[in-house]
Symmetry: C2
Subunit: 213 residues, 2 copies
């Protein structure tokens, strides 16, 4: 009697075993490594399988296709990626809130550069696989926060800046240290090791000056 037919592909039917969860995790980890470094088309299942230390057919036993694997990665990342923005609190001190957001973003860039590059690859190539996420959850969140920022401006608590451009410039400056690390490294030589420390000081100073009413 096929009790062990609880194939990962049919997730709805049965709870995955510990082994299955670990393999799945290892594959996702390997996929993140390869996709983030080479983009979707640049990555091959061979590379991912080797990185995860299993055979290609075995990999395809856990994930139906290359597309499915990539989609799973993106979906799993969205929440973590947007959390720093979601955490901005309307009741806190505006400048403190925004500077804390910048610091969180920078820490994310330092700790999870591969995730950042995965998104960057996607968006530069016109987000063929994540348009929905962009127009859905992210758009809603940005709408909510731009309104909050505008309210702070109207209350005279921060200088009058365009809320959208403010958010874009925070995204750009923080993610730059993950996405364009190769360039940063080529330009900075000795200072490279300390880049996140010095960047944090620089960016907090920068945005504080801009936001002071």
């Amino acid at each position: 009697m096929s009790k062990t037919t609880s194939q990962p592909r049919a997730k709805a039917t049965q709870k995955p075993t510990r082994i299955q969860r670990e393999k799945t995790r290892a594959i996702l980890e390997a996929a993140l490594e390869v996709f983030s470094k080479r983009g979707f088309r640049g990555a091959t299942l061979d590379m991912i399988a080797e990185e995860a230390q299993l055979s290609k057919p075995n990999l395809l036993y856990y994930f139906a296709s290359k597309e499915a694997l990539h989609a799973e990665l993106l979906a799993g990342l969205m929440e973590k990626w947007l959390e720093p923005l979601a955490q901005i609190e309307q009741n806190g001190d505006p400048i403190t809130e925004i500077c804390a957001y910048i610091e969180r973003k920078l820490e994310l860039a330092e700790e999870y550069p591969r995730e950042s590059r995965l998104f960057a690859n996607e968006i530069i190539q016109e987000a063929p696989r994540s348009k929905n996420a962009l127009n859905g959850y992210l758009k809603e969140l940005v709408d909510e926060k731009t309104i909050l920022i505008q309210r702070w401006i109207d209350a005279g608590k921060i200088a009058p800046v365009d809320p959208h451009h403010l958010i874009f410039s925070i995204w750009a400056t923080t993610q730059h240290y993950a996405d364009f690390d190769t360039q940063i490294q080529a330009m900075m030589d000795e200072g490279y090791e300390q880049r996140f420390i010095t960047a944090k000081a620089y960016l907090v100073d920068l945005f504080t000056k801009v936001l002071k009413p």
Copy 2:
């Protein structure tokens, strides 16, 4: 007697005809379109050939390989891309010079978004084909300008900011509007049309505040 054997591949031997130059230009234009949108591996010679309106073998008559085509694109772009930074003048007013640089960068992002994305694709994927350019001409130029900025700081003409991070933040904020256009569009709705005008005002204001001594 083969008078017409002046094949483009053997460029050193003979001056290319007008037709040859035009075809070459059309191919490079098509290649830029496709490479910038899909990255090196994501692009196919079929796509580029179709975009340039010729057959794949004919394309390969003008360029020896996909690699060669990509290399030619990158090489031809470097100069245009670095010119705004090179134009910063040590004798001008520091804040005026830097703000003018920001405006030039933003205009480049607006006029040549594909070039920006081509570079971005390269660098995110660890610049496998342009490490040399990064460590060569670009590094030299950045070294030169960081020294100039430091001199301005020492003279008390601008506020004391880390010159490297200043340059990075200018790159990040300006190129963001080209590289992440898909995201910008998804977030901005009505304001999207005017994005470069409002961005210019926002960024000039931002960096002016930061640089004022």
